[in-house]
Symmetry: C2
Subunit: 346 residues, 2 copies
């Protein structure tokens, strides 16, 4: 799926390091006024002006964070950038620049790397950020991606994880659990395909959740919406490791209790039906499934009228006294302690 079958593929050796970087990044034009110098020197030069600078970095490893048997290279390039932009958004900031470094073994063709960089470019265009640096190097085995994202924010608008206050409302954007189930569906299809290579998967019923897995978006639109609504959250985090894990971060960093109501959780109908298909409780999917890249944040109760009509935002609970811990109130009325499943690759 990453290769055009009718063309001779080119090996990376043909180009060499410097020509490879030039080749892969020549289609990138810088578009931001702050970019005084982009790719091509020892470093990039940026004009950061009077706003504060936000910086975030993530590393993605083949076989740990992605599987190339169902993740097309172009989607991978897009997603690698987006997961970093999501961290910038989680600071209530706007992303402006990224650097993208990859190491690949010589089993990767030039066409595969071109597709990866096309995805990087798609993300740069969609979010109006400039690619201003990176490194393209060899590896003995597999692919590793490292992205650093930079953004800007006014100091009075920056939102950390540690500002949640008792009686604040807990809000989440979009709906949850889809990306995790999309991964489950793709993994199941991969196994079926390995057993029977003639198998033709029908992913149409799973379109929404597969998209959530393969092409997630950073909620820059929510950062912009909150500004338009004149709402500054008291604390915010992006949901990369699952709602439970992120709620526990707010609990720990803000030193407050967190109460979430099961009946309030925003779930797409596909997530309910496919959870059933996999024998999963949809609530478990929502709490522990990662990679949705939605925003979880707390707001003052007096801001509630500003957000209540918005279909992108759901109040799922509230901030309580610290002794309350992190609780889920079940539909039955019972309470259960939130536990992080999170990421356990080691």
């Amino acid at each position: 799926m990453i290769e055009e079958k009718n063309q001779p593929l080119r090996s990376i050796e043909e180009l060499g390091e410097f020509a490879l970087i030039d080749h892969l990044t020549k289609a990138f034009k810088t578009t931001r006024n702050e970019t005084l110098k982009g790719i091509g020197d020892d470093a990039a030069l940026l004009e950061m002006g009077d706003q504060k600078t936000v910086i975030s970095t993530d590393m993605l490893v083949e076989g740990i964070h992605f599987n190339l048997s169902y993740m097309p290279m172009r989607h991978l390039g897009y997603k690698a950038v987006v997961v970093n932009l999501s961290d910038i958004c989680a600071m209530n900031a706007r992303p402006t620049h990224v650097t993208v470094s990859i190491s690949v073994s010589n089993r990767f063709t030039l066409e595969a790397l071109e597709a990866f960089y096309k995805g990087v470019q798609d993300a740069c265009e969609a979010y109006k950020v400039d690619l201003v640096g990176g490194d393209t190097t060899a590896s003995l085995k597999g692919m590793t991606i490292s992205v650093t994202a930079i953004g800007k924010v006014n100091e009075d608008k920056v939102v950390y994880r540690n500002g949640a206050k008792e009686n604040d409302l807990l809000v989440v954007s979009g709906d949850l659990g889809g990306a995790y189930l999309g991964f489950q569906v793709l993994e199941r299809e991969r196994q079926v395909f390995e057993a029977n290579p003639k198998h033709q998967p029908d992913l149409e019923p799973y379109h929404y959740i597969v998209q959530r897995q393969l092409k997630p978006e950073a909620r820059l639109d929510i950062v912009e919406l909150l500004e338009a609504l004149e709402v500054t959250p008291s604390a915010m985090i992006d949901i990369s490791d699952g709602l439970s894990s992120e709620a526990l971060h707010l609990h720990k960093e803000s030193e407050v209790g967190v109460v979430i109501y099961e009946e309030k959780l925003p779930i797409d109908p596909t997530v309910i039906t496919v959870s059933d298909e996999f024998g999963l409780n949809p609530t478990t999917t929502v709490l522990n499934g990662g990679e949705d890249y939605e925003l979880l944040f707390s707001i003052s109760q007096e801001d509630y009228p500003k957000i209540k009509a918005n279909p992108n935002l759901t109040v799922i609970g509230h901030i309580a006294e610290k002794a309350k811990g992190a609780q889920l109130v079940l539909r039955s009325g019972e309470q259960s302690e939130l536990k992080a499943q999170g990421w356990t690759s080691f």
Copy 2:
């Protein structure tokens, strides 16, 4: 050499991802006024003020860029940071912040990662930069390191690769070829050790060049010296891939000719004797050996009196008309075209 033999070693699984990051970075204190928020949120927040921001990133892959059989983890952490700071210095800028991400397989012990981060910390302290982010993740095999460095520079002081002018003098800091020979010595000792594990290497005669390989420095002191001397280079690059390769970058980016005199090349006596030992021409070592992280730059002739007495700086040639290409003038008076060996890992 990366393990203390008398202590029980701890596996990474014992800690888990979040605790691992906390554990490895807890000894890092932010020291710079610009660091409004360091590690521990979705992103770091930096105050960049009225200077311009410089950003550079590099990826280092085990088996390609480093070999853990003779590179101690603490040195590796130091070097991974320094090679990025060197890029910032090559813009005539001062480094201020770094992010460090690593992926490691479960053959790495916690003690090894602690040693790596101790080296990162050594570099942060030596160069007065703050570690403000990073990612620590699993890999299926081996170790990959990605570092992003940020720095500051006044717009009128920034130096690109493309500003060299005809008749400018070409200057290099320090001496060249040592890091490459240090690598050759370490590689030879590794092979001897593999053949005979009882072999006790005597590296004392090679101390200088082994240090150049294992613990390179970024020439921030040269950036500071140039400012004190009131010299702003017209073009500058750091020497990571060898003098020839970098001179060719200046030739290409500045669209000028570059003439280097063999007799002017700064060589440490150890580099001459060890080149002999390996049957190498010392000039070839100097031209093609990489990883010295010295600075190569061009200055106006009128600045010559300001730099001529400084033992850290050597005039090795001049900038000529473009048609001249990139030439080495041999001791014999003959001219030979400079060729890049550079990096050929693919």
